[in-house]
Structures are given as structure tokens and as C-alpha cells.
Symmetry: C2
Subunit: 229 residues, 2 copies
DNA sequence: TTGTCGGCCGATCGCCGACAA
DNA sequence: TTGTCGGCGATCGGCCGACAA
């Protein structure tokens, strides 16, 4: 999986430690994340935190849900090993430096509205996304319309009809959009990510509103009171 | 799973040895069935056949495909055990006797035609099935129509509209049929089984044309040459 | 008796501009 | 700028009898 698309899907809040950097491993947090909130680690037999070196990072995506995650291989640093006493939070500095030196390709994320997710509707493309991420549209045609191809995290290519129409004018994805919504089982509140790679290719990723595990969902389903007649 | 529905789905060719009867266990055949045609059992260390006693039989159905199968628990009979020298094929006789003494509820199987499996079509019910398996239809109504409920191997109830119409008259399942076909992923060549239990309830099972394992499929897909224009 | 076909009607899908937030 | 709505045309699902095998 392309690391840039991975980061675009994960969002700006997610930072990954570079390989060979040092991090602290928290067994308690790991156990809670894997098994749920109620855990019993044998007190005194497992240290609260373990200084480790990042041996490998693999960027992955769930085959079914497209949700991105990472597998990080950690190797514990022994106390007698050189560098053990050094401040471990140099990992953060290294991560920040590593992130800054990487190219940040243009990407755009939008949370799906009811109209976007409803069947029978298209996708309302924010102007910024259409103008900076999508391929150039020939506005001289009437109506201005083009076919947009976007590759998802699995390399599958999706085809969308991109049209600029309506009064006032706005960018829309029509044909191909509902198929995408149904196949990916997207609902209002989920987010879609468009990213343009360096060679001009377009990628598409998704970010689910409901998340499993202890990373609580920022999105709660609000029940609208029915309009009084 | 109801043994009678199980037998109706498995077909008349399938006979199960009764519990406590004696059978021969063939390790070679078992290995081929489980792993494929190429196996290497350590010659001389595993006997070609083992006399066993049937300890338990469980009638089961695949949760996804509805295909029926059975789990048979075997306990080897030791050579010094009484009855070892007795002819083991008494199992067959016992099975036949056991099968005969069981009630044989009315059941009917039909292989789905193209018209049955095609979307937009209903199911053409053979007269015998409609008259002997289905609930009595009131022919005085116009048109004669009723709702038929049938329980599948998982206990899920399916609802069909059963109508007697057309010239010449014939029995058809219309509303509800295509949903059943889609949910069960039925295609032309698969078979459907209807069975009426002693208390009058209707059951429905399916028999797939394509079978996994070494039990070769009797049904081969024949490509029809397109009609000349 | 029953498999297949064309007709036909209603439901749904999905594209559209009109608004208004 | 863009979210939601009603309209409406095209498509599809699915029920029907006609006909023939």
C-alpha cells in the first residue's frame, strides 16, 4: 500500500515513528486495545513500559472495509545497550523530521452528507477538491464533463462521471458514484479521501465514521426530530 | 437440523449407518476426500481398513451454502472384542432396516430451469409437487392464489405467492421467489427440495449442482449454440 | 404438462435545476 | 459555495398469457 495514500486516509493526526527510531512500548495499552478495557496483567512481572527500537513498519488496509492500519515490529533495547539512557522522545523529533522531508501530495477529505450517501444522488464535489485534486476540466465544453479514474487502496480503479453544471454551477460526481457507495458500504458521516500522486494519478480512500477498538468515534448518529407538519 | 429434511436434501442415494452399527473405516479414502487426490500414507503403518462402531451421527448444514453433510463419530473395535469376527456388513442391513422403519415424509425435488433461475421469472411448480406437498389450494377463487410459508434448514421462514393461472393452467411461485433465488445464490441446474412434515409444515432445501471434494458433479454446464438468425 | 418468450405495467434509479442556507 | 428537494425520464424487475415442445 502506498504510504502517501495511507497517510491521506489516516489523517493528519496520525504520525508514524520512522524505522530505527526508539519508542516506548506500553503493554497495558496494547492489551486494552487488543482485548478490551478489562485486562489483568500480572502485576510486577510485566514492566509498565519497555524501550524499543522500531524494526519495521508495514502500511496496510483491511481487505473488506478499506480501513488503514499499520503493523510495527518492535525490538526491545536492553539496559546495557548503548543509547539506552538517551532520551527516548527523540523518536518524535525523528518522526517529525522524517514526515517533513517526505513529499506531501495534494489530498482532500470530505465527510459524506445525507445527499452524498443517499441512493439516487451524486456526490457534491467541493470546488477546492475539483480544482486542485481532480484532472483539469475543459470548461469550454457544454456541459463541462469528463471521466475521472481513481485507484483505491487495493489498486482497484473506479470510474466516475465528473460534471460541472446547475445554477449556480457546481462540481458533481454522478454516474459511477452510487456503485462506489454501495460496494464500499458508505453511509453519511463516513469520509472520502481524494489524493493526486506525483505522476498525476488519482487515488481514492475512505475513512469510516464508526471505529472499532478503543479509538472512540468522533461521529455520533444524531436523530433529527421530524419536521412538524 | 431435522433428519427428515436432511435426507430429503441429500437425496435417496445417501444412506447413513445407524448409531451402534459397525462399519469399515478407510483411512486412504478419508485422506483423499479431505486433502485431494494426492496423498502419501506411511505404507504398512496404517491399516487399509479399520472395523469401527458408529458412536454418533450429527446431521448438519453449511451455514452459507445450505449444503447438507454429516459428522460421524467412529470408535475402533479391537480384535479381541466380542463381535469382531462377525460380518461387518450387518451395518448395511441395519441401515436399511432403520431407514425402512423411519417415516418417509412427502418430499419433491426439481432441478431449476433457466426460466426458474432467471431474474424476472417465477418458479414453475410441477403439478405433483403442488398437489401433494403444498397446502391445499382453493380452486374456486379467481384466480386461485395463496401464500406459502416454507422453513429452510436453518429454520428461516420464506414466503412465496403460489398462484394457479395461465392457459393452460399451471402452478407458479411468483412474489418471493426471486428474493429466495438471489439470497441462496441459486443458478440453473441447482435443485430445490420441498418437504411436508407430519404436522403439515412445509420445508425447503436446496441441492447445489457444483459439488466440492471428490463427489463428482452429475451436472455439467452445457453451452447452447446461439440460435441462427 | 411445463419451459420459454414477448408484452406490459409499476417501482426504482439516478440525472437535473431550483432554491436556500 | 454547496446541501437538500421535487421533478421526471430511462431502466429494470417481475407478473402475465401465448405458444410449443
Amino acid at each position: 500500500l502506498d504510504p502517501q495514500l495511507w497517510h491521506a486516509c489516516a489523517g493528519g493526526m496520525v504520525q508514524m515513528p520512522p524505522v530505527h527510531s526508539k519508542v516506548y512500548y506500553f503493554p497495558q495499552g496494547h492489551a486494552e486495545h487488543a482485548q478490551g478495557p478489562v485486562v489483568d496483567l500480572p502485576a510486577g512481572r510485566v514492566p509498565a513500559l519497555v524501550l524499543c527500537r522500531v524494526a519495521a513498519v508495514r502500511f496496510m488496509a483491511d481487505p473488506d472495509t478499506d480501513e488503514v492500519f499499520a503493523k510495527i515490529r518492535l525490538a526491545p533495547v536492553r539496559p546495557n545497550e548503548p543509547g539506552y539512557a538517551a532520551d527516548a522522545d527523540d523518536a518524535i523529533g525523528a518522526a517529525a523530521a522524517g514526515g517533513a522531508q517526505e513529499d506531501k501530495p495534494a489530498s482532500f477529505a470530505k465527510t459524506l452528507t445525507q445527499s452524498d450517501a443517499n441512493n439516487g444522488g451524486g456526490f457534491s464535489v467541493p470546488r477546492y477538491c475539483a480544482e486542485t485534486i481532480f484532472p483539469r476540466l475543459d470548461y469550454s465544453a457544454y456541459p463541462p464533463v469528463q471521466t475521472v479514474l481513481a485507484k483505491d487502496v487495493h489498486g482497484v480503479v473506479w470510474k466516475f462521471r465528473h460534471i460541472y453544471r446547475g445554477t449556480p454551477r457546481r462540481h458533481l460526481l454522478t454516474t459511477g458514484w452510487s456503485t462506489f457507495v454501495n460496494q464500499k458500504k458508505l453511509v453519511a458521516g463516513d469520509s472520502i479521501v481524494f489524493m493526486r500522486t506525483e505522476n498525476g494519478d488519482l487515488c481514492v480512500g475512505i475513512r469510516r465514521a464508526k471505529k472499532g477498538g478503543i479509538g472512540g468515534p468522533e461521529f455520533l448518529h444524531h436523530h433529527q426530530p421530524p419536521p412538524s407538519p
